[in-house]
């Protein structure tokens, strides 16, 4: 092996496949030897054998390849967790070379367990501040499905597998697996609830009700996100300096907002609206900004063509608000 290769090429190391790519890169640079790879391979085989035994209560020695692949991915996910917690890839390679793999694995399990507890704790907080909207998928996800996903998370056999949730987030969780995905979902939902808490509960219910009525669906069964339903209304209300916590807008409000923003170009409008989002006191500022940025092109387009009313949810001009919406 050449002594010239001593630097890890970080572009070859992938977070989503950390242990494997670290091993490959460690071997390429000579920081790891074939004997290290051999030791890891034997250890992996022992882990899978152990999992097969546990899963079958010691009554089977073999499994379908697909099952073994899930077990292998699970073991690697735990190792990845521990190795990623080290500061640098070089430290991770050193750990692969010098640390007992059982210890790395156990430490990885401990970390995942902590994430599991974090998710459970955050879920309790998210539940306490639920928006008063009788949407079934929202309530079922918060009251039942998330608890089940957290409780059933299996770091032994399927650590890499997260869960699917019925309620759509304003910013879907992407590129995360296992407990990270579940935790990110809970965290986002908590941030969304925290944002909604800043607004009048009745007005949230009214806005969601109007939105559903316009789409001819029931609030109870609609596939909708409450945060995104109220966000633009919150933005325009704040821009127009309506009372704190109000969300209700009429067509006339929309026209005023349009007229106020009309003299500016896109960049200036973006700056003005961004400063409003930065002023929001509810929710997580980063989450709010990310969501704002995701809707910004549509918002600017609507302002450009005087179509802001299509981006907000307007209460009827006759002022009549369906009692059903307020009685929640």
């Amino acid at each position: 092996m050449s002594n010239e290769l001593t630097q890890l090429d970080l572009s070859r190391i992938k977070r989503h496949n950390y242990t494997q790519t670290l091993l490959d890169e460690g071997l390429r640079t000579g920081m790891l030897q074939d004997s290290d790879a051999h030791r890891i391979s034997v250890w992996m085989e022992e882990q899978i054998e152990d999992l097969i035994g546990r899963a079958s209560g010691g009554e089977s020695t073999s499994v379908m390849t697909e099952t073994a692949a899930v077990y292998a991915a699970s073991v690697l996910f735990v190792l990845d967790t521990q190795l990623l917690s080290l500061e640098t890839p070089e430290e991770a390679v050193a750990a692969l070379r010098g640390e007992p793999l059982n210890r790395l694995y156990e430490d990885g399990c401990r970390r995942l367990r902590n994430y599991q507890l974090d998710a459970a704790s955050l879920l309790v907080k998210a539940r306490r501040i639920m928006a008063p909207v009788p949407n079934r998928s929202y309530r079922r996800t918060l009251n039942k499905d998330l608890s089940a996903a957290i409780d059933n998370y299996n770091m032994l056999f399927s650590a890499q597998i997260g869960a699917k949730f019925e309620y759509p987030l304003a910013l879907p969780v992407q590129n995360l697996r296992g407990i990270y995905q579940i935790l990110a979902y809970v965290s986002s939902l908590h941030d969304e609830n925290l944002f909604c808490r800043e607004y009048d509960g009745n007005q949230i219910a009214i806005v969601c009700g109007i939105r559903c009525e316009a789409r001819r669906v029931k609030v109870e069964t609609a596939f909708m996100n409450i945060y995104s339903a109220i966000f633009v209304n919150a933005l325009i209300c704040d821009y127009l300096r309506h009372d704190h916590g109000s969300l209700l807008l009429r067509r006339a409000d929309c026209d005023v907002a349009y007229r106020l923003l009309e003299p500016f170009d896109d960049e200036e409008r973006e700056g003005l609206l961004r400063s409003v989002v930065n002023r929001f006191t509810g929710g997580n500022p980063d989450y709010n900004i990310r969501y704002f940025e995701s809707i910004l092109p549509d918002l600017l387009n609507a302002l450009r063509y005087n179509r802001l009313h299509n981006q907000v949810i307007l209460v009827p001009d006759d002022g009549i608000i369906d009692e059903d919406f307020t009685d929640m």
Binding site: M44, E66, A69
Partner: protein, 185 residues
């Protein structure tokens, strides 16, 4: 050496590393089957390890050691139907059948139950005839397991797929024509 951890060994044999382990485990069985007159020689162990790897691959299974093969050798060697000259071929066939049945039944039967049923059929209904075991008994066994009727060697061996009442008619499990007459549907 194959350094792929995610795909490592999952197509069956586990490479040279596992083959050495399998051969070692097979050699260790010799003490247990000493009285049968069958000896697992080094070339036989090597050949069986290769057959095992291929059988796992063919049936889409993974196994870390030689667990199933050593069980087969221990269980079938004393039957009197296997001699030193055909031991390698017989054990190879039995192992392939075993993995095949495990996969075809989606692991519904435990190793021991399946092997006991295979042994029962091998000794009492096939009289050592492997073709009969594979062509008739094994398929019937697979159908019974997939119906939830157990492997068919006693009445207590029902599986939790909603057919607990069937298979308790006192039959010895050999009468399975799969004509649907036994299906409880």
């Amino acid at each position: 050496m194959d350094n792929s951890l995610t795909n490592f060994n999952l197509t069956g044999s586990g490479g040279a590393l596992t083959e050495v382990r399998v051969q070692r485990e097979l050699a260790a069985v010799n003490d247990e089957i000493e009285e049968t007159g069958i000896v697992i020689t080094e070339p036989m162990a090597k050949a069986l390890a290769e057959v095992r790897a291929q059988a796992l691959k063919d049936t889409g299974r993974f196994e870390a050691g030689a667990g199933a093969l050593t069980k087969i050798i221990r269980l079938f060697s004393p039957t009197g139907y296997i001699s030193q000259s055909d031991a390698e071929e017989t054990f190879s066939e039995l192992l392939s059948m075993f993995y095949y049945a495990k996969s075809e039944t989606k692991d519904a039967a435990t190793d021991d139950r399946l092997l006991e049923a295979m042994l029962d059929a091998f000794e009492n209904r096939c009289f050592g005839d492997l073709e009969l075991l594979r062509g008739r008994e094994l398929e019937a066994m697979i159908r019974r397991i997939n119906r939830g009727d157990g492997v068919g060697i006693d009445d207590s061996d029902n599986y939790s797929t909603g057919f607990a009442g069937s298979g308790s008619d006192g039959s010895d499990g050999s009468d399975d024509s799969d004509d649907g007459s036994n299906d409880v549907m």
